[in-house]
Subunit: 334 residues, 2 copies
């Protein structure tokens, strides 16, 4: 591979000049620019970006850390980030944290050692304090899908609470009064907030929460099934169930059908996330749209703005969830 040195020789100019035309970092006369450009073309020269990074202390790469890479959710998120960053000539280094504190920290350390210009973090095992400290450090941090109070400006998230509220309100407005809830793991922030939204909606309708009708799942389909089983076994009547995410809703729906219930005839179900498969379900799953791609894109814009100085970019920190109404929810006949 040709180096900048060979280009400079062939063009008959200095290293610095070549560097300048490559990076458009200073005025160069048209004549020399042409000489350089043709030397570049002849030698098929491509700057070694590793060397560039070392010399400029800019790596032009952004680290991303996610809980997982498979599944419908995170791919969409990375996709959003990558798209805006790539179009600005930056690139992404992706690594996973498996929702494990050590692995998450490890991944972060790794990205730092890789001299990323910034990091986009989607982590759930490390503490808020850790993140606050981290954000004081040398490498800028944007936190996706989590709100850390001390560093709100670095967070790009969905208003989960409002989402939870909308979901339950949708049911209430359709006449449902006995509403069960299949929650996410209580230690996860988003799960907590969705649940808080649920309670707020009930309260707004002057309905007291029946703790019996709440089941704590783990965001997996199987726990949706288990939750539905549990709820049905209670013998307490209910006409609708809110699930804290679509996977659990799918499990719940399946189990309800297996128990001979009709959805939405006997029971309405609403999920959360609007993942890719939710409209494939039968009946189509009503849910709360999670603008994952947009949130990813916004995280990318945040970086462009705060790290690469593109000040014209508007940043929004909190995204609004919206209702997606499909067949799984129906007016309560009772």
């Amino acid at each position: 591979m040709a180096t900048i040195y060979e280009v400079s020789r062939r063009a008959g100019v200095s290293l610095a000049t070549v560097s300048r035309v490559m990076n458009n970092t200073a005025r160069v006369s048209d004549a020399t620019r042409q000489k350089v450009l043709s030397a570049v073309a002849e030698l098929n020269y491509r700057p070694n970006s590793i060397a560039q990074s070392l010399a400029s202390k800019r790596s032009n790469s952004i680290g991303i850390i996610l809980p997982e890479l498979h599944g419908p959710f995170f791919g969409t998120l990375v996709s959003g980030i990558e798209q805006v960053l790539r179009s600005a000539g930056k690139h992404t280094i992706v690594t996973v944290g498996h929702s494990d504190e050590d692995k998450e920290k490890d991944g972060i350390e790794f990205l730092i050692s890789r001299k990323c210009d910034a990091m986009v973090l989607h982590v759930d095992a490390v503490s808020d304090e850790y993140l606050e400290t981290l954000s004081k450090g040398p490498v800028p941090v944007v936190i996706a899908n989590r709100q850390v109070s001390g560093i709100a400006a670095n967070c790009i998230a969905l208003d989960n609470r409002k989402g939870g509220e909308i979901a339950t309100r949708c049911l209430l407005e359709r006449g449902h009064r006995e509403i069960a809830y299949i929650a996410g793991p209580a230690w996860k922030t988003d799960a907590k907030e969705r649940y808080a939204g649920h309670r707020a909606a009930l309260q707004a309708f002057d309905i007291s929460i029946n703790e019996l009708l709440v089941f704590e799942g783990d965001f997996q389909e199987s726990s949706g099934s288990a939750g539905m089983d549990h709820l049905l076994g209670l013998g307490r009547p209910f006409t609708a169930v809110v699930c804290a995410n679509d996977s659990m809703a799918a499990g719940a729906m399946r189990t309800a059908r297996e128990r001979g219930l009709d959805v939405p005839g006997d029971i309405s179900i609403i999920g959360f996330d609007n993942v890719n498969f939710s409209h494939y379900l039968f009946p189509g799953l009503s849910t709360i749209d999670y603008p994952t791609h947009d949130i990813g894109g916004m995280a990318g814009r945040w970086v462009l703005r705060h790290v690469y100085g593109n000040d014209r970019l508007e940043i929004r920190n909190l995204f609004e969830p919206t209702l997606v109404l499909r067949e799984s929810v129906r007016q309560n006949a009772g």
Copy 2:
């Protein structure tokens, strides 16, 4: 951030010695090793991997290029790659090609300039020749989910043809004789092979292909719906339809139901890929399992073996598809 120089000063040894203990690249007495290690700890030193790469001409990073990042498929693939590479201390740079020739080439150029030690490519727009030439170049290439004849050893793929055969055979063995086919885009290699498998299976049962019952879709759900509409409009009887992927199968299934047909009562449907949502469908979709995660993992192993010299690793180039039987396929009563 501390540099190796500061560590060497604090430990009272030379740069080289610090480097040696960091990389375990030569014998160092226990005493000095301890001195170095504690200096490292005190300064919280982390090698600058950019500088390492420049000096060693090893970047310890592997480039990945994919058509897209969202959707159920590619996330799983990256996940497989990342997992095995990460556990070997390597990392991944991900970029997308959008199935567009220029973008794919651009992405590849980018990864090369980034001095990746190797590239894992999942591309469909560039030509076989381009890939063959590329593989002769300085950076090793492994090609996922595509078989390029000249460089078979660099390809990790699924036997799509056999998969197509298994799908159709599954229907044939259950008494179906009038079998429709909703194909993928004819210019995609995998679509072609799956279709070839379909025809082979029919042939093995001495059934001649009815071209009328073949519809070319584009792998999207909507074209599955369109395909089903088209087929039903033909007025020719058929008792089963093979879809070249699950998304189209989902569309076909939905449309069949909307037209008042029972799946699998009136018509059996089988898909291909076994994507995450296929078991969420109602009825559960029978399909051909695509071991995406394993294929990704194998691509990672290929790199470990051929680039980092881990010779003990076994490489398999062709993966066998397997049948996943769910409710959408039933014995033909007629």
